[in-house]
Symmetry: C2
Subunit: 395 residues, 2 copies
């Protein structure tokens, strides 16, 4: 009490001065990465967008950098200094967000200087590399901002608590009107935090809406994982030891959660336009697979569909895919307002597979949009750009 | 696309099946800690509430457990197995939430099996030890739940982006009425995530409101850190190299953010009752110090005050403390509806100091409530219990 506080507490407090998701810009001199926790000098951005990492580990025999392809395609060795401090400067990194961690004698170690992000099924460090001229995912003071709500709910399908993140556009509380909804799915190993923390989806929507390039809408970001509660499964597949049976069961459980729990809950609790013409779904990687599987089999529920960096597939057959939904191109084109497919040029297998599906659909007369993100891999910069391209086309 | 997904992606997905902040219960047999990421067998709760930790580190010379006092008062050595897997079983842990990490040859390593929580100025692992019979912070399906909104805003005082977490009670959107507000501050080294992720403040409020033991209210949880933007400081103290000057400047900046930015923003954007009789503030540790410093000097703004585990202080003088606010007991008691002080019995210095302030105030005729949390240290179980005792007394 009073200002005579224990100095240690206050020193710790100074180290934590809250920082900003503001516009990220590369400088002419080395500077702390914009994603660093306040007060951390390293990781340090070099003027050429290389990154210098540091770790004190006097007893270690080997320290490596591992993580996202645009930062560290292969594990890269640090060099030990006399003082037991290991350092590494990478080649120029690809702009955008990269997961990373240090491998210290075989143990994965997060960087104390960075925030943790959920990826690869665990908490990883993350770094933001500024992209020159790209301010579409920056937080900008001059425009109004939406909110992101954490909405907890108990799922009877899975017998577990779940949390949806719901973005409400600027002015939602006071407008009194109803809004369309985009359901947005993360990738494998990530969760419902990804599109906000890594993807900055809320800031992308703020910027698009602020520039009147997109209609105000809700985003609903939930987890893509689901397993039937014991006793709830409609079949014996949930507990099967056979992998493809278990995948089928998880797919069915996820679809049941989405169609019977999440969508009705959102329509009941938020001012939505609760019809297919005002409902979109998109996802990245595993989330793209889930989106296409679900929407193309439930067109009575969705009229706008986005598949970002779908897992590579072979043997795509227009006539039989998704229970034959593409067989009647005229009917499909009339019913579906947007079928959007995209990938980054550096995620070559994903890109090639997506191009090939896109072209097969074109040949069959199925209207669809293909978006290519230059130079980005199976990482979040591809999906930020994808969202930025996809959203203005909606509703 | 389709259900023929790459098996690796799906296997990763299975490892991530989203889990539940549901009621935590100790079992008769060893079981995964309720805070484990889904699929993680360790850390494992033993029937006596000891915890078994595991880490694979074949090259390490020494592995220690470090963290919260109720789990590991002193660093504790792991034992190496033949297979390079280190294990440790602790004595019975104190129920509640504990930060922890592994020290591997001098390097701090988070546990890949647990979520990360912001404490000690960095991302730490955390573990939840069930408290028998305590369901006041559990997510319970049978009662309605509020939401927690992330509200980003640009602070002109600090020249930085900040994020407030705002808990809205069940039914907020549809009620149309106005609500009182409790501003709630974290401790040093933590941030605005703490009261939700570690403290489970939203579930505590849900349970109290659901049982009609507390009035529906908003919680506003922001960071306690602030520094004047260059050029904004009213004095030269912000850039002083003198620690006490810098503390004074940070204190002033925080108070300016709270009084001139946060409170007006909340009153403008949410349906609040924007007067002192419907505005409370409370905080823990550093946040308690901030709360008492701010509210006791601005009673025109606050009528309800909570100080949890205030940093130990000597020389508390009723006549001069907080600019002499306690000098006229009659006037103080008339103006302040609640002055609440509390601490845990195991945080002995904090507890003794709080008792001594409480008694000095009593002797001076200043009405105040003292709450003592049995057996808990300077950790979150003390603050969960404190919130649970404090909130029903409000408004």
């Amino acid at each position: 009490m009073n200002t005579k506080a224990p100095a240690t507490l206050l020193l710790l407090a100074f180290a934590c001065l809250s920082d900003a998701p503001g516009p990220a810009r590369a400088g002419a001199a080395p500077s702390p990465a914009p994603s660093n926790l306040p007060g951390s000098e390293y990781p340090r951005l070099e003027p050429n967008l290389g990154v210098t990492f540091r770790l004190k580990a006097p007893e270690a025999k080997a320290v490596k950098l591992e993580g996202g392809a645009g930062l560290s395609k292969e594990p890269t060795d640090f060099t030990r200094g006399q003082d037991g401090i290991w350092t590494l400067t990478t080649p120029p990194a690809v702009p955008g967000f990269h997961y990373y961690w240090f491998n210290v004698d075989g143990v994965r170690v997060n960087d104390a200087a960075s925030q943790a992000y959920f990826g690869y099924g665990r908490e990883c460090s993350g770094i933001e590399i500024p992209e020159a001229g790209a301010d579409y995912y920056a937080a900008r003071p001059e425009i109004p901002h939406g909110e992101v709500r954490s909405h907890w709910y108990y799922s009877k399908v899975t017998g577990r608590w779940r949390r949806a993140h719901v973005y409400t556009p600027p002015g939602y509380d006071k407008s009194g009107t109803r809004f369309p909804v985009l359901y947005l799915q993360h990738g494998a190993g990530e969760n419902e935090r990804g599109w906000i923390e890594q993807g900055r989806a809320n800031f992308i929507l703020d910027n698009l809406i602020g520039a009147k390039r997109a209609r105000p809408m809700l985003l609903v970001i939930d987890t893509g994982y689901a397993a039937y509660a014991s006793g709830v499964s409609a079949s014996a597949t949930a507990t099967s030891t056979n992998l493809s049976n278990r995948i089928a069961s998880a797919t069915a459980a996820f679809e049941e959660v989405m169609l019977k729990e999440i969508i009705p809950m959102i329509d009941a609790n938020y001012r939505t336009k609760p019809d297919r013409l005002h409902r979109a779904m998109a996802g990245l990687s595993m989330g793209s697979m889930q989106t296409l599987n679900l929407t193309l089999r439930h067109l009575a529920q969705f009229a706008w569909i986005g598949g970002m960096s779908s897992p590579p597939r072979t043997g795509f057959d227009v006539a039989t895919a998704y229970d034959g939904v593409f067989r009647d191109a005229g009917a499909f084109n009339k019913q579906v307002r947007l079928l959007w497919l995209g990938a980054g040029t550096a995620e070559t297998r994903f890109h090639a597979s997506t191009v090939s599906v896109h072209e097969a659909l074109e040949r069959a007369g199925i209207k669809n949009v293909f978006y290519s993100s230059p130079g980005t891999d199976h990482e979040w910069q591809t999906w930020r750009r994808s969202l930025y391209d996809f959203v203005p086309r909606l509703f």
